[in-house]
């Protein structure tokens, strides 16, 4: 175990130091705005860097090239341990427990967006920037970032990349070198973020709010600077801009890159996931708007469409921004939205859940089984978007979905046992494991996760990590073979 853990810790130490450097951003903002959280950031950045440096020096002896299992371990370790480090500024400044700081940082890094804090508009700007920055880094993946900027991860990199990038088929890279692929993905991500921030500024947001909302939208996080979330602005243009960028963030970033390099939108029409996502969102927005109108929640169709579409898109893409307390709508509507959050986001996007590609694969597999019943001698390969999916992938998807639902069910049972009511337990776990954000009931958009007790908060943190690492990577930590020599 020592031989496995220490070389991994050596690389992890570098990741910690990278985080310490990123902490300088809110630190600079704090100096500039003379804000009361300045010392919290000075101490946190310094302490984080020292911890990283000491760990790095202490494990230098064990430095070696990472093997397959080390890659998995590095990703799992990073995601489990990093929130503790990233939560440091929150914990040292705000009057909250470690449990809540860990939850908040996990919620940021996993791009969930559920918060335990209230009175967000009264927090120092540096603290709010840090929360959004965590979302933004976590969106494309902290390890992918490390691969992009730290050259020494080198071989073994593919394993790491595979363990962190969402989706069932990760063998195709944009470029031959893993480091370059990571750089390109981050470039597309950063480019879209800048576009989003500028658009938000154009439609009237203040610079600081625009930056934070931009981070939130592209990472599909869901944090906001206001308790009322996007409802605070009450502006249709802002909602339109955010919806558009949320949909973009829910598509595969490799497709964005292709479209960019071909200077055209053809790539999106070839991406079967993208087509399915557009279809599902379009039908859901108009369907729910009609439903809300029919139920008399809103007086006219345009208003109904405005609220239905913004919230549907936000929750379905697992962003979790919202402009209405949709938990007050008839149960069908919020439940449908939360259901969508499990399936809508694309592989290779910043969203969570099962991912659209797996849904498509399973739907086609089910169809194949049905056809097989009618034509016992049928030979039909499983195709998605014209390319054949290997049976190996289908099996992996089945195993994933099984583990996903089992985790979901068992965590819901744990929450129920701890005393939560059914709607809150169900919605909190579904929202956390899909990295969507707000749930329903006690943790709905009108309230927040602060009402949970310590134990329930930890369970939610675990659910977020499980969802972000697509179950396997985290569960691998608990397989005895990983630890055996």
């Amino acid at each position: 175990m020592k031989d496995t853990l220490l070389p991994v810790a050596h690389v992890f130490a570098m990741v910690i130091m990278v985080v310490a450097v990123i902490m300088l951003a809110p630190l600079v903002l704090a100096i500039w705005g003379l804000d009361p959280a300045l010392w919290a950031f000075v101490v946190s950045a310094f302490a984080t860097f020292v911890i990283g440096a000491l760990l790095w020096l202490g494990t230098r002896r064990f430095k070696r090239e990472l093997k397959t299992r080390d890659g998995l371990m590095l990703v799992a370790l990073t995601w489990v341990a990093l929130p503790a480090v990233a939560g440091f500024p929150l914990w040292s400044y705000l009057p909250i427990h470690f449990t809540d700081a860990y939850f908040e940082a996990t919620s940021g890094l996993t791009t969930t967006g559920g918060t335990v804090l209230s009175g967000l508009e009264f927090l120092p700007r540096s603290i709010n920037l840090w929360r959004h920055l965590l979302s933004w880094i976590g969106g494309m993946g902290i390890i992918v970032l490390a691969v992009a900027i730290l050259p020494m991860l080198g071989v073994g990199g593919m394993q790491i990349y595979r363990a962190e990038m969402p989706g069932p088929m990760k063998d195709s890279k944009l470029t031959p070198r893993i480091g370059q692929t990571a750089k390109l993905l981050w470039a597309v991500y950063a480019g879209l973020t800048v576009c989003c921030i500028l658009s938000l500024r154009l439609v009237g947001m203040q610079w600081f709010d625009a930056v934070c909302a931009g981070f939130s939208a592209l990472s599909l996080g869901g944090f906001s600077n206001y308790d009322a979330n996007i409802g605070h602005f009450d502006s249709v243009p802002i909602e339109l801009v955010l919806s558009a960028f949320e949909v973009l963030a829910a598509l595969n970033f490799a497709t964005h890159y292709l479209a960019w390099s071909q200077r055209g939108v053809r790539a999106y029409f070839r991406d079967s996931e993208a087509k399915a996502i557009f279809g599902v969102l379009f039908i859901s927005c108009f369907g729910l708007a009609g439903f809300l109108l029919f139920k008399g929640i809103y007086a006219d169709f345009p208003t109904a469409l405005r609220y239905a579409s913004f919230n549907v898109i936000s929750i379905a893409t697992t962003s979790g921004l919202h402009n209405q307390d949709y938990s007050l709508w008839p149960t069908f509507a919020p439940m449908w939205m939360i259901f969508l959050s499990s399936i809508v986001a694309s592989s290779g996007s910043t969203g969570g859940g099962i991912k659209m590609i797996r849904t498509l694969i399973l739907a086609k597999q089910a169809n194949r089984e049905l056809n097989q019943l009618v034509h016992p001698n049928l030979v039909r390969p499983l195709k998605v978007g014209g390319s054949v999916i290997a049976n190996r992938v289908v099996f992996a998807v089945l195993a994933f979905v099984f583990l996903y639902f089992m985790s979901l069910a068992s965590l819901i049972f744990v929450q129920l046992a701890s005393g939560l009511d059914f709607i809150t337990a169900l919605s909190a776990i579904v929202a956390c494991i899909n990295n969507a954000g707000p749930g329903l009931g006690a943790v709905g958009p009108g309230a927040n996760y602060g009402v949970l007790n310590d134990f329930q908060t930890w369970v939610c943190s675990a659910a977020m990590l499980l969802g972000r690492l697509e179950v396997f990577t985290l569960l691998v930590l608990f397989t005895p073979t990983l630890w055996r020599k």
Binding site: V155, Q159, T175, P176, R177, I178
Partner: protein
Amino acid sequence: MKIIILGAGQVGRTAAYHLSREEANDVTVIDSNEEILRDLQDRLDIRTVTGNAASPRVLESAGIANTDILVALTNSDEVNMLACQIAWTLYRTPKKIARVRSADFTARDRLFGENGVAVDVWISPEQLVTEYVARLIRYPGALQVLDFADGRVRLVGIRARQGGPLVGEELRTLRVHIPNIDARVAAIYRAGKSIKPEGSTVIVDGDEVFFLAARKDIRAVMREMRREEAPVRRVVIAGGGNIGFRLASELEAKNQVKLIERDHRRARRVSEQLKTTTVLHGDAADEDLLLEENIDSADVFAALTNSEEANILSAMLAKRLGAHKVMALINKPSYAELIESGSIDIAISPQTVTIGSLLAHVRHGDVVRVHSLRRGAAEALEVVVHGDADNSRVIGRRIEDITLPEGTTLGAVVRGEDVIIAHHDITVQPDDHLILFLTDRRHLEAVEKLFQGSASFL
């Protein structure tokens, strides 16, 4: 450089390994076997594409449009040649290297180039390995013999043995021993570790010494390192495959060659094409057959079948039965390391032999020849220096004034037809070919930089 490798066989995989570990290269490998590719991608930082290597669609998805070098290394000559032709016709790929094994193709010069098949360079691993083994047989006692400047200079690896006049003496005494001959010791490996050769270095029994000398002087220098061995007369070759057959036809004029082939039909075909070689049908690991054919009086036993395990076993058996020197063709580097310290005298690694000729084409234009040594840890290079004293960091300077990266020795300078063994007072002139030895190829980039100077920016 963007490189596409076709075929993930032994040679393809080794090429991918060597090329991808040079920072500047982006490597994509195409093969039809998905399993092999997945395994390869797990270990190397490359991209893989599954599909038919000669299909434009597959080539396109591997990014042929902006590829600098296409290296076609599949098992089929025809696929390799076709892939190169497609790459040139459709995408104007600047450099196309193909593995072409059949002498049927390679013997016809007009087939390739301008009006022929668009293959810029063809390599035949079998041919290279055959030449390599033939050189080893020509210089009994040598572990490696590598050509530079069209064979005018050779780098020879040899194990020093008690009985050679230089063994136990300082290196500087070499000039006293053989006053008319110039040679340069480029590297010494003692117990697997490199030690820097200096005038005061003493060579001891068991050292692996690499020296550079003009072709005619090699035997004289070798005599200094170990007692001279009698020239090889009797050669027994196990395996009548491509390499075994070529080697036999090359050697049969001057040596007494016996070739053992397991497959009856193959043995027949080989015997029809060979002139004086005795072709035997049988198992090379059959003790009775070997004894019957007087293995104890064989000067060299070379096991060159497709199966490396069989090669190792038959070579060990031949050694025990009294063959003077045994060689075995071994693909796995780890096996080669295992057995060279044991009873087999020389392990021949086809990939190491082949990869050098490939690397030379991939490196910057000034590198004309590369030999990979010690399973890729060390490298010997032939570099042409271009430019003039103003824009080059080496031209017009004396060798003692050139700062070479650590572990690098400049062994010889080839100027036109002349071979000049490097001494501190020689001044480098434009268009000289310099022969360098790197004990640690991690310094390769520094070496390349040194010789690029600013000329490449003009």
